[in-house]
Amino acid sequence: MTANPDEPDARPDARPGLGPGDPAGDGRVVLDAGDIARALTRISHEILERNKGAEDLLLLGLQTRGVPLARRIAAKIAEVEGTAVATGSLDVTMYRDDLRNHPTRAPHKTDVPGGVDGKTVVLVDDVLYSGRTIRAALDALSDLGRPAVVRLAVLVDRGHRELPIRADHVGKNLPTARTERVRLRLVETDGEDEVRIVEA
């Protein structure tokens, strides 16, 4: 189950923290490639069940790592239902409430094929934390049109919400301390599939 057999307590359900023999400070693996694949499969089925099929579904990945996750879920749904599901990407840089606290960076692509009007939009993100990104995403969405329903799917929910936001589909609930960081890597962006908890 765990990708790091040297650390017996490094299991996904274990209370996070630095493993003992971890001088590099690279934390420990809490989800490996297999875990991620299984979680996404379950989310795909949940989405289908909830939506009663793939009709009018739009999977909108939040930049950057939500985008490949949305594509993977779409591929799984296509496998199960035999129909292609629309996927897109949403960048919320301009909608962040902490825009003024950082140097500006160029926004990523927002691409919503066919628009959001009347669709069941499933926002897909990697890690749900304060909820501020999702708040920004909801604002961005309302500038793009009026979806019939908006749902939220995340691979990891690490808690510590600062806004009244919750996910409809969660790959893994991961209790963390605020001092820790959840580091998610995906094949598409980082060359491997892995979720680690790292001491900040």
Binding site: R100, P103, A106, D143
Partner: protein
């Protein structure tokens, strides 16, 4: 990102590329039903125009508004400047109202740079005298990059009244910075003095013979001949200018097929550019320049006003 945008010298190649990346996203916003991003909500930008302008001022105004900034236009006509107030007093007065950014156009070269020294908010040069017009050059380079894929190794001709052109001065810098090869073409009377030395230093070519240059270029940028120059002895008659340096129908045919044609506007149709060239389907990118202008200015306002440094 730089604090002010007074000259193309203020932005590195990496920063230009970042601006273009941002502009590409802004371009998409232009096609949306709700053309609004909240990035500059609660920020106020003043367009201080001491010289007439329609497209640059409205372009900056739209750019600011689409980013949710409050934009106020002040022109010299009907302002306290016409009552004799100095530039410094005007600028200090408007900044004392608590604004967050200043876009300035002035007939005196160097005015925006001077203003930047008086205030502690970002200043954007929207054209100063015969010096620079950095956002115009950025939107030209952006338009060309989208059209040609890259400027690396591309040959671009800039044709017209170079002596009095700030568009030319900014464009030479940005196009060469991005790897383009620039040849400037003008009658001897409208070639800036000292160009021989300058072109060697800045790495661009010069020519008096438009017909020799045109068949070899990947893009051609025509500059406006200002009406007030026509009686200034720079050329004998408008007709003679057109014969020597206008993008006529015959010269349009001499261009390689699909070569983009740029003009910063406003155009003198029939003088520096023929209607056939100005409206050439798939070649004239003049209206693309206008729409890119909004996107590029949104990118500039965003990077100068939205982030951490601006809040400090």
């Amino acid at each position: 990102m730089t604090r002010h945008l007074l000259s193309i010298d203020d932005v590195s190649v990496a920063e230009i590329r970042q601006l273009f990346e941002t502009a590409a996203e802004m371009h998409d916003v232009q096609r949306r039903e709700v053309k609004k991003l909240p990035a500059l909500r609660g920020r106020t930008v003043i367009n201080l125009f001491f010289e007439d302008s329609t497209r640059t001022r409205s372009s900056f105004e739209i750019a600011g508004k689409w980013l949710s900034a409050d934009v106020i236009n002040l022109s010299a006509k009907g302002s306290s400047t016409s009552k004799g107030e100095s530039l410094r007093d005007t600028v200090l007065t408007v900044t004392a109202m608590g604004i967050d950014g200043l876009v300035i156009r002035h007939s005196a070269s160097g005015a925006p740079e001077q203003v930047a020294g008086w205030v502690d908010i970002p200043v954007i040069n929207a054209g100063d005298g015969m010096h620079e017009h950095p956002t115009q050059a950025l939107l030209d380079a952006y338009t060309l990059t989208r059209r040609l894929g890259t400027l690396e190794g591309k040959h671009i001709a800039i044709v017209g009244d170079l002596t009095h052109s700030r568009v030319f001065r900014s464009n030479v810098k940005s196009l060469t910075k991005l790897g383009g090869r620039v040849t400037v073409v003008a009658p001897p009377t409208l070639m800036p003095s000292g160009v021989a030395h300058w072109s060697k230093e800045a790495g661009f070519g010069t020519s008096y013979d438009l017909d020799a240059v045109l068949p070899d270029v990947d893009a051609v940028m025509m500059l406006r001949v200002q009406k007030e120059r026509m009686s200034g002895g720079f050329f004998p008659s408008p007709r003679e200018y057109t014969v020597g340096y206008g993008l006529t129908r015959a010269r349009l045919a001499a261009l390689r097929p699909g070569t983009p044609i740029l003009h910063p506007g406003p155009m003198n149709r029939g003088l520096e550019i023929s209607p056939e060239a100005a409206d050439a389907v798939d070649q004239s990118v003049i209206l693309d320049q206008v729409s890119a202008g909004v996107a590029v200015r949104m990118a500039v306002l965003y990077h100068l006003l939205a982030g951490e440094e601006a809040a400090a």
